[in-house]
């Protein structure tokens, strides 16, 4: 990791709170008083148990959720403005692939929406599929793919528009351990090649420590940022690091930083 003074703040989250009414009409304070700066090209994990507001924070950053207190600025602009500039990529929990389109056509979807020419779309989609190792499955339909391959296609689609900021909402939580480890390494590889800013929501401590530069620990009731842990493991990360003493120290450090001790 390079020195802090060289880093440029990309996403600035100031005193952010989110409140809404749930279906029963109850007032819910999903998040309160969150302050966080995310640097350009940084890999940040948002970690916490269910109901701590980590997904809400992620959705607020890309303007899918309205912020009720404080403000979020991305390179000086509001999330809404950045969304209009189409600078976000979002990987959802489930691979939201359209079942009537081939894998390639799914990857091309955002490019179609942006009126890219047919040749450009095809070329870009081929590159992305190559990147996630799905070139041989370009003409398959999503229903013919395994869960891991579907999630790869999902990632390929998110990278297709070359977004500045990639938001990932528990993208691997539904996958088996083998697929997950493979995709962890793939994601880090793609990240180091493309140098995007990644905000990665997870409830898995090991996953957060293995992947990120910083782990932001959120605690529930109400959702708030309770700690930020720097992960000083060297890049490039490897799966073997998971067995080192330092990795386990970091995992314990993160675990102990949940407010109220354990969750």
């Amino acid at each position: 990791m390079s020195g802090k003074e060289e880093k440029e703040v990309e996403i600035s989250i100031r005193d952010v709170g989110v409140a809404f009414c749930d279906n029963a009409g109850n007032h819910v304070q999903a998040l309160t008083g969150v302050n966080l700066d995310i640097y350009k090209g940084e890999f940040v994990a948002l970690l916490g148990p269910s109901g701590c507001g980590k997904t809400t924070l992620l959705r607020s950053v890309c303007d899918l959720q309205e912020v009720t207190e404080g403000e979020i600025r991305i390179s000086g602009k509001t999330p809404g403005e950045i969304r209009l500039e189409q600078k976000f990529g979002f990987v959802f929990q489930q691979p939201v692939l359209l079942s009537w389109r081939t894998v390639k056509k799914n990857v091309e979807l955002p490019l179609e929406i942006m009126y890219y020419s047919k040749a450009d779309r095809s070329k870009r989609a081929d590159e992305m599929l190559q990147m996630v190792g799905l070139s041989d499955f370009a003409d398959h339909y999503p229903g013919q793919l395994s869960g891991g391959m579907q999630q790869r296609a999902n990632i390929a689609r998110a990278f297709g528009l070359r977004p500045d900021i990639l938001l990932m909402d528990e993208p691997f939580s539904a996958l088996d351990e083998f697929t997950k480890e493979k995709l962890h390494m793939d994601l880090l590889q793609i990240w180091s090649e493309t140098n995007k800013t990644i905000l990665f929501v997870t409830h898995n401590i090991q996953e957060a420590v293995l992947l990120s530069d910083r782990v932001c620990v959120l605690s529930p009731h109400p959702g708030r940022l309770s700690a930020v842990v720097d992960i000083d493991l060297p890049r490039d990360r490897t799966l073997e690091m998971k067995e080192t003493a330092h990795f386990n120290e970091l995992v314990s450090k993160v675990r102990n930083s949940f407010e109220g001790g354990s969750v």
Binding site: C62, Q94, V96, W100, P110, I113, M114
Partner: protein, 279 residues
């Protein structure tokens, strides 16, 4: 004894698990049932069960020979019924689908409108047909045209209701997060409709058609009963029963069955070709 039963079960299981036999079974069993009914009917056993005679319930061979003798007239009436059913179905489905699109794009107006459409779907044909006869009275001087229009409108209303309710579901019940996905790319409403909602609604359109196709034929047949102009398979059933020509009436009943089954088979083929890509 116990061993013998076990072996029997194994054989039974083997038959159950054989894919080829299974698919043959789905064809063979219904055909066997059909043959059984034919034999019971032709053999007069059905007549014994229901205490009736071959005059009221003619033998299948008799019905068949009457169909052969009157083939020209039957085809003419079939054409009349099928054209009413098809035109009504097509207009109704287009109308219903357009309404569903409007409801999906403007949900506030749409959800209320769909309730009214739902009420239409529950109006019985026997109530709707005479009303439509009245409404179309001044449409044309030709009784045949007046009647046809009236019948088409009844079929149209019934099909439109069915289509709009199903299509609305298909247009709105999209995969979780897919609307968020579109929002991330600030997709225009028009593009969301075109790229997400309409393709998503296609399987639902076929769900609607599976009900609408048979019901359009049934509706056409029932509205013929009330029509001013005497034509169509349904009307011929009625006319022949009135004249106590039961064998001819049965020939038209058989024709109605053939039309219904043929239309359904055609629909299944079209569905198979269209939804090939949907998994």
């Amino acid at each position: 004894m116990a061993q013998k039963r076990k072996r029997k079960k194994r054989l039974y299981q083997r038959i159950r698990e054989n894919k080829r036999l299974q698919s043959a079974e789905t064809v063979v069993l219904p055909v066997m049932l059909g043959i059984a009914i034919f034999l019971l009917w032709q053999g007069g056993i059905v007549h014994q069960w229901f205490h009736t005679d071959v005059f009221t319930l003619p033998l299948p061979t008799k019905i068949g020979s009457i169909m052969g003798d009157n083939i020209d007239k039957i085809l003419e009436n079939t054409f009349s019924t099928v054209s009413v059913a098809f035109i009504g179905l097509a207009l109704g489905c287009i109308l219903g689908y357009l309404f569903a699109v409007l409801a999906a794009v403007f949900p506030r107006i749409g959800s209320g409108g769909l309730g009214i459409i739902g009420a239409f779907a529950s109006i019985p044909v026997v109530a709707l047909a005479p009303v439509m006869n009245n409404w179309t009275r001044d449409l044309s001087k030709e009784a045949s045209i007046r009647s046809m229009a009236s019948k088409i409108i009844v079929v149209m209303l019934i099909s439109a209701a069915n289509m709009s309710l199903n299509a609305y579901r298909g247009l709105t019940e999209v995969k979780p997060f897919s609307e968020d996905l579109m929002a991330i790319y600030t997709t225009k409403k028009r593009v969301v409709l075109w790229k997400l909602r309409i393709p998503n609604s296609l399987p639902y359109v076929f769900i609607a058609l599976k009900v609408a196709v048979p019901s359009s034929i049934m509706t056409a047949i029932v509205s013929e009963y009330f029509a001013e102009y005497i034509t169509g398979v349904g009307r011929q059933i009625r006319e022949n029963i009135v004249l106590a020509q039961y064998a001819t009436a049965w020939a038209y009943i058989a024709t109605a069955c053939i039309i219904g089954v043929a239309a359904y088979v055609l629909l299944m083929v079209i569905q198979g070709l269209t939804l090939r890509r949907y998994h």
